[in-house]
């Protein structure tokens, strides 16, 4: 129940734009290990070396939901970042170390002195956070939230 509420709460941050955003909820709908969808075989691909057909942000393409003129609204920062980097965050969490996880800690406002504990706790609870039934970034963030509220040091950051 708690989890569902949190997902709804996180979604609500951007819900008014959800229709315009294919990735419902500013990254929250991103599936972990959803791979590189829509890109072509590399040799003939219209690559990013000059194209951005697959890029969703930009001052030229208008608002997609969670950004305005290319900048991400502060409420959507954590979910956008996590949605874009969910695999790297998972990799870092499994060893309790890494740049991608550090950014998540910063975006949650975790103070430097509590970071080691945050890294350790997320590693210890990795199986819970990335349980097989948690397939989207929203579900994973909700599970992370649940782990944090049960930890005295991390609970204040889980808001």
């Amino acid at each position: 129940m708690m989890k569902k509420l949190l997902v709804v709460a996180l979604l609500a941050g951007c819900s008014s734009f959800a229709m315009a955003d294919q990735d419902v909820g500013c990254g929250l709908g991103t599936m972990i290990f959803s791979g590189q969808s829509g890109l072509l075989p590399k040799v003939f691909a219209a690559t990013t070396n000059g194209t951005f057909g697959n890029q969703t942000f930009g001052i030229t393409t208008g608002t997609l939901g969670c950004e305005q003129d290319g900048v991400i609204s502060s409420r959507a920062k954590l979910s956008m970042y996590t949605g874009s980097n969910i695999e790297n965050v998972a990799r870092d969490m499994s060893v309790g170390h890494g740049d991608s996880l550090n950014v998540v800690a910063d975006l949650m406002g975790v103070k430097d002195q509590d970071k080691a504990h945050f890294f350790e706790t997320t590693k210890a609870n990795f199986g819970k956070i990335f349980a097989p039934e948690n397939k989207t970034t929203g579900q994973i963030l909700a599970a992370l939230h649940q782990v944090m509220v049960q930890d005295a040091t991390l609970a204040p950051y889980a808001v």
Binding site: I32, A46, N49, F52, I59, T61, G70, N102, D106, G127
Partner: protein, 635 residues
């Protein structure tokens, strides 16, 4: 009185403005620009930077074609008319509306005019621009970093690299660079047809525009999806200069230029953006015909004192290669097993080695997953299980960062090259001249370039034979690409090549192999195969080649060939070697045509080198040999 002077000014500027709009202007006559001042400002190079004016037939034309980029109907072709119209609109706005006033739409232009004319806010107040202010506050600009995405093999369109500009915040935390915003200039297309993409990309068929997005998106895209290393060059532009640059970027929202792959491309337009940061910077003028991204980085870094620091961000593939090389064979063997069965035991491995194997298994499987070498449906559960298993291993992170390569792309050899050669061709001495506008071949110094990647464009070689007083075109390479990526236990890439052009071959006038005669043929050839790296700094390749040649000298006007090509490359501190053997079966004549080639290049200094090349072509018992010594100059 001020009203009179302002009216006079506006008359000078050629505008008829209702007197009521002037009556309220507090502008003092002492600061009104004179017509000489107006003319001077219109001729200022910075005005041309902001409006993308390019000299054409003694006049100027802006790259921008959209009318909403200009305030004067003549704005596209007249810097002076545009400046006049801008002053009129700006100074004529007595109660400008928030966000829609001319100073909110074109903040860089107005800031510059205000500063150059010395007009204070008391003399002429500005409307608030909440949209712009919110945008600037979110970006929080303080410094800028020019980012170069190096090439990755197997994608010709990436071989020239790519640049983008990261806008950094004053924050110095480790997260700061990833959360910063990146400015990218790109063609906007969803074209999936490679040929259409090439044709339209070369002919300006796509609109190009600036975009801004979180840097972590670009890191993900380049480092993870495309496996391209990123080089970050932090610039010394001041916060005020970055602010000006962003004001200008704001003006570019929704503005498109025709995108040309070689000239008005990502890197060229990014130079224009950097010019907007600091009046007086003239970067684009060095690229009148084409702009190679790495050259644009060099031009920026050549500006006195503009480079503050450099940072290397290795791609996923580079990190994985480093990991595999760092692991013991037993760990790598165990990793391959864990990829199939995440909970398999690893007998004989220490806990640390077990953790290494788990990490490598995940990194490699994820790499294969992204490059679609493994099933998309059954792999995700394996990836997840590998991470869960790793999280239960009580050992710290075993991954280490790959060392930064000794030479960064900006310090690689210059991309244009001229060569003077002297040699012997079938007993006739010759002297020659070779010009190659771009980019890198297999004997050029490899520092700063991708090992095993060759991309030559428009390489032209002339030869003069004093004995016969003949000047001939020995070769003209339209393009030649080699993509030699070594295979190992983990990576299994394809190596391939392709080339088109014209070259002299040992043929007589009737198309037979000749020891001494030479005739030009046009050719198209290509092949595919595998490469290995038997030792550090060494690469060996084996490919099957197909070749098609056409020439009036040939019996039917053309011939084809099919056969193997084998070779090795070696590089040391100052020299590079290449040895190659190849054969083509000419099935029309039922003969094998073979060639052997030995090349050696010795670097005298960063800009100069000596190259020795010896080659022999043989058919049946006949042979034709040539050898030359070339002095090369990179510029």
């Amino acid at each position: 009185m001020p009203t009179f002077f302002l009216a006079a000014l506006l008359l000078v500027l050629g505008l008829v403005v209702p007197a009521t709009t002037l009556a309220n202007s507090p502008l003092a006559n002492s600061v009104l620009p004179s017509s000489a001042q107006v003319a001077q400002l219109a001729a200022d190079p910075f005005w041309r930077v902001l409006l993308y004016y390019q000299p054409v037939h003694g006049g100027y034309v802006s790259q921008a074609t959209q009318s909403d980029f200009f305030l004067s109907p003549q704005g596209r072709t007249s810097p002076a008319a545009e400046l006049q119209a801008t002053l009129q609109r700006w100074l004529g706005e007595t109660s400008p509306a928030p966000d829609t006033s001319v100073s909110c739409r074109f903040p860089a232009r107005i800031s510059w005019l205000r500063q150059r004319l010395g007009i204070t806010p008391e003399q002429h107040a500005e409307a608030p621009c909440p949209a712009l202010e919110t945008w600037l506050a979110a970006i929080n600009p303080a410094q800028a970093t020019l980012v170069f995405a190096s090439a990755y093999l197997n994608n010709p369109s990436s071989m020239f690299g790519h640049t983008l500009l990261r806008i950094d915040t004053p924050d110095q935390s480790e997260s700061a660079p990833l959360l910063a915003y990146a400015v990218n200039y790109a063609a906007e297309t969803r074209e999936s047809n490679g040929i259409m993409f090439a044709v339209k990309g070369l002919t300006g068929g796509y609109p190009g525009g600036f975009s801004i997005l979180p840097y972590y998106q670009k890191v993900k895209e380049y480092n993870d999806f495309e496996n391209r290393d990123l080089w970050e060059y932090q610039l010394t532009l001041s916060p005020a200069e970055i602010h000006r640059l962003l004001q200008h970027l704001w003006e570019m929202r929704g503005i498109h230029f025709p995108y040309y792959f070689f000239s008005d491309n990502c890197s060229y337009e990014l130079l224009g953006l950097i010019e907007s940061a600091r009046p007086g910077l003239a970067l684009r003028q060095q690229f009148p015909v084409y702009a190679i991204p790495v050259d644009t980085v060099r031009v920026v870094l050549a500006q006195q004192g503009l480079l503050k620091a450099m940072h290397y961000r290795a791609s996923s593939a580079t990190r994985l290669s480093h990991e595999v090389a760092h692991n013991s064979q037993a760990v790598n063997d165990a990793a391959r097993q864990l990829m199939q069965q995440p909970d398999a035991g690893t007998p004989g491995l220490s806990p640390v080695e077990h953790a290494q194997a788990q990490e490598t298994a995940y990194d490699d499987l994820y790499y294969r997953y992204l490059s679609r070498q493994v099933p998309a449906d059954s792999t995700p559960p394996l990836l997840r299980a590998l991470l869960v298993a790793r999280s239960q291993t009580d050992v710290p992170d075993q991954r280490t960062l790959p060392p930064q390569p000794a030479v960064d792309p900006a310090n690689g050899h210059a991309t244009s090259r001229i060569g003077l050669d002297a040699g012997d061709d079938a007993g006739r001495g010759f002297v020659g001249l070779d010009l190659r506008p771009a980019y890198h071949d297999l004997l050029d110094p490899p520092g700063g370039y991708v090992a095993g990647a060759r991309i030559d464009f428009l390489d032209t070689g002339l030869r003069y034979t004093p004995k016969t007083e003949q000047l001939r075109l020995e070769h003209f390479t339209l393009f030649a690409i080699d993509s030699l990526s070594p295979r190992n236990d983990f990576f299994k890439p394809l190596s391939w090549d392709g080339a088109m052009g014209l070259r002299e071959e040992p043929l007589d006038a009737s198309g037979h192999f000749s020891h001494s005669d030479r005739h030009p043929v046009s050719y198209a050839e290509g092949g595919a195969g595998v490469s290995i790296a038997p030792a550090e700094g060494m690469l060996c390749y084996g490919q099957l080649q197909a070749n098609l040649e056409a020439s009036p000298a040939l019996k039917q006007g053309w011939q084809d060939g099919f056969g193997p090509r084998l070779g090795c490359l070696a590089a040391s501190q100052q020299s590079q070697w290449q040895l190659e053997l190849g054969s083509l079966y000419r099935h029309e004549q039922q003969v094998w045509e073979s060639h052997a080639l030995l090349g050696w290049q010795y670097q005298l200094n960063p800009a100069q080198a000596l190259r020795l090349s010896l080659s022999v072509t043989a058919e049946n018992s006949q042979r034709a040999g040539t050898g030359s010594l070339v002095w090369l100059y990179y510029y």
